[in-house]
């Protein structure tokens, strides 16, 4: 009996020992370093990682991660390293780094029919950058290329490069600043031009858990072997054509291992973060109030059409409601935003109204129509719950149809639908964060940006508190209204 248990234990241990797993975290939306093709993970970095694993007799596990959660993934041990065209500059102290193995340039792409040819031409223009990329940080206030960044009319922070390229094509931004590897990939399909002048250059390295020098050294030595015997160059040739794109070689690291961690105290930091988030909160509140302003009356109108005696009207709005409720709001936002360009060829920059960017307008349109559909169904349920006797009593007293509706039915409907409306309104507070998909800088977008830039959860916690407080007030107001309407049953 004991014998079996011991042998089973030994077996398990030796099985675990036999093949070490090497788990590489990467962003699967980052060609040519890591991406999905025909259902498989491909990319320069992933091929390098596979080769390193092979040479060490490790079993490789490729784990696509949510870029915003990369630190939690690494620190919790879900992944062993981040290997993903991962820029060292600006993150020197956050990870245990390998030596840089790629020197990468940050460049600007424009449409090839654009008159912009030099960085100086970008003055007064809108330039898109991906959220939490080195070039975003560099162009921001306090960044190393703020001299360029300050000349722009706006730095538009987008969730991903596809989004940025769509915006460029649609005319909503004038240029995109990005990694040259990605820029080459994107410009392959034509119509885009990479400016000769570069914004800056940066080093790519492999990021390990802070202090995990043991694994770092093994991986780094294997990588150096691969560079020396030409394997790395062959892998590079699969993904990059121009030889000056990637300078692969032994580059002395500027990384100092024992640089001390950021000196700012938690509470100093909290103050700055809170201030940033409050700015975002204003935008979130604007989305919230404008949506209610439009969606509440619009919903009533939609409900009336939905119950109309006219076959076409009734069914049109039945379908409208079903589409609005049956598809993700984020998708609808993209459609409202990009639709005018892709369907009608309208340059989105021309759609701004009173100086309000079309991105914000598209968010309000998307939210209002989506919530109008939800409100419409609530109104409809409320209206059909009013007993027929109320209509008949109003009718025999000589009320017209509109008097009956506005004086008798609607006041009773309002009271009945208050609880479901409260639910929707509270959901709306949280849904405002979806404006992120159109790069509108509301609170959650800003929280994400600060969080990934500073590798802390603090902004999320503060944002969470704000959302909670906002909802606390909303719920309070709604229950006060409910109380006020409690004078009858």
């Amino acid at each position: 009996m004991t014998f079996f248990m011991v042998s089973a234990l030994v077996f398990t241990l030796s099985a675990a020992d036999a093949v070490k797993r090497f788990t590489v975290g990467f962003d699967a939306n980052f060609p040519p370093y890591g991406y999905v093709e025909n259902g498989e993970y491909r990319g320069f970095d992933l091929d390098l990682a596979r080769e390193v694993a092979k040479r060490n007799n490790w079993q490789i596990v490729l784990k696509p991660i949510n870029w915003d959660a990369k630190d939690s993934e690494l620190n919790s041990g879900m992944i062993d390293c981040i290997w993903n065209g991962f820029t060292i500059n600006g993150r020197e102290n956050s990870y245990t780094w390998s030596d840089p193995y790629v020197v990468n340039e940050q460049v600007v792409i424009v449409k090839d029919d654009s008159p912009l040819r030099k960085l100086a031409d970008l003055k007064g223009k809108k330039v898109a950058v991906q959220t939490d990329t080195p070039v975003q940080k560099a162009l921001k206030k306090g960044g190393e290329r703020y001299d360029l960044g300050r000349t722009l009319s706006e730095l538009v922070v987008v969730p991903d490069y596809n989004n940025a390229v769509m915006m460029l094509e649609a005319g909503s931004v004038d240029a995109i600043a990005m990694d040259i590897g990605v820029a080459k990939e994107k410009s392959k399909k034509g119509g885009l031009l990479i400016l000769d002048e570069i914004v800056m250059s940066e080093n790519y390295g492999i990021g390990f858990r802070k202090g995990d020098t043991k694994l770092r050294d093994i991986v780094q030595n294997t990588l150096l072997e691969m560079i020396d015997d030409g394997t790395a160059a062959r892998i590079s040739a699969r993904y990059f054509d121009g030889k000056n794109v990637v300078a692969l070689g032994r580059i002395k690291s500027a990384v100092s291992e024992d640089a001390n961690v950021s000196g700012a105290g938690f509470w100093d930091n909290a103050g700055v973060v809170t201030l940033e988030l409050l700015k975002g909160l204003l935008v979130s509140m604007a989305i919230f109030f404008l949506t209610l302003l439009f969606a509440l009356p619009l919903g009533l109108l939609v409900a009336c059409f939905r119950m109309s005696g006219n076959f076409l009207l009734r069914n049109f709005f039945r379908i409208f409601i079903s589409v609005m409720r049956g598809t993700p709001l984020m998708l609808q936002l993209l459609v409202w935003f990009f639709g005018p360009y892709y369907l009608f060829g309208i340059q989105l920059s021309k759609l701004s109204l009173f100086g309000i960017d079309y991105r914000f307008i598209a968010v309000i349109i998307g939210f209002s129509l989506n919530y109008a559909a939800y409100f419409a169904e609530i109104y409809r349920a409320g209206i059909s719950s009013i007993p027929r006797g109320q209509y008949e009593a109003a009718c025999v007293l000589g009320y017209t149809r509109s008097q009956t509706f506005f004086r008798i039915v609607l006041p009773q409907v309002v009271k009945r639908i208050l609880p479901p409306v409260t639910n929707e309104v509270i959901t709306l507070v949280k849904d405002t964060s979806l404006a992120f998909s159109l790069a509108v800088l509301e609170m959650f977008t800003i929280a994400k940006q600060i969080a990934s830039a500073s590798s802390t959860m603090l902004p999320f916690i503060i944002a969470g508190v704000f959302y909670y407080l906002f909802n606390f007030i909303v719920a309070g107001v709604m229950s006060a209204i409910e109380k006020k309407l409690n004078y009858y049953r």
Binding site: A393, V396, G398, Q412, Y487
Partner: protein, 244 residues
């Protein structure tokens, strides 16, 4: 009682997809009369009553008001409805309005009376039924009998020429039936023209000028209560033997 016919149904028909609820019914109502309609359940009494004020649109025949057929535009139907009040089995007071507002809203909205006058009249009506102190209350604070009396007063506030009642006491607890019936008796005594559907045969016999017996969508017989209740028609005899 005059000979003037205020309201008249001529060959009135109401067909539902599955059945003929009202089958060529003719009935004249003279000024000041109280006409009570009785008959077995499902015989079409309510449907007939509701056709009289166009809550149900008749599928045949016509309703005449002062000799003129009611039809056509919803405006003229609306105008007619202001002249013909109705009291429902379930009161149908507006729960979000005070008792006073329930009574005054319609005369003011339809332009019958200016607000001040409407309020004064409403208070007077409420005093008459002993509910003046409830003017500011909401319907939920009233008993069933009080609600129905308010509903009757609400109909009266429109200065109707005819009042229709559909089983006004059948949703009430027994001890509240009396107060509502007393109010109706008073109205009848004052000469209000009334058409009442009821199962309270005793009350009908006491108040009715004419009693109408309906069965399967048709009027079988019309007569003074004492005559009708001693009818030779076996169906009618059978009905009264069961309900009394």
């Amino acid at each position: 009682m005059s000979n003037e016919i205020i309201l008249e149904a001529r060959d009135l028909v109401k067909e539902f997809p599955a059945l003929r609820a009202v089958d060529e019914v003719s009935l004249p109502v003279h000024r000041g009369e109280a006409v009570f309609i009785v008959g077995p359940s499902g015989s079409g009494k309510s449907t007939f009553l509701r056709c009289l004020n166009m809550l149900e649109t008749p599928t045949g025949g016509e309703v005449l008001f002062h000799g003129k057929a009611i039809a056509g535009s919803s405006a003229s139907i609306n105008h007619y409805r202001c002249k013909v009040g109705m009291v429902f089995q379930h009161f149908n007071l507006f729960p979000h309005l005070t008792i006073l507002q329930n009574i005054t809203l319609a005369p003011v909205k339809t332009g019958l009376l200016p607000e001040k006058k409407a309020v004064a009249e409403a208070i007077e009506l409420l005093e008459r039924i002993g509910l003046a102190d409830k003017a500011k209350a909401y319907p939920m604070q009233l008993s069933g009998g009080q609600k129905q009396r308010v509903a009757i007063v609400r109909a009266c506030a429109m200065h109707p020429e005819v009042l229709l009642f559909d089983e006004p006491t059948s949703a009430l607890d027994p001890e509240m039936v009396g107060e509502v019936q007393n109010l109706m008796k008073e109205l009848a005594a004052e000469g209000m023209t009334m058409v009442v559907v009821t199962h309270e045969i005793g009350f009908a016999a006491e108040v009715a000028d004419w009693m109408v017996f309906m069965d399967r969508g048709k009027i079988l017989e019309t007569g003074k209560p004492a005559v009708l209740m001693n009818s030779v028609n076996p169906r009618i005899r059978d009905f009264f033997s069961k309900v009394i």
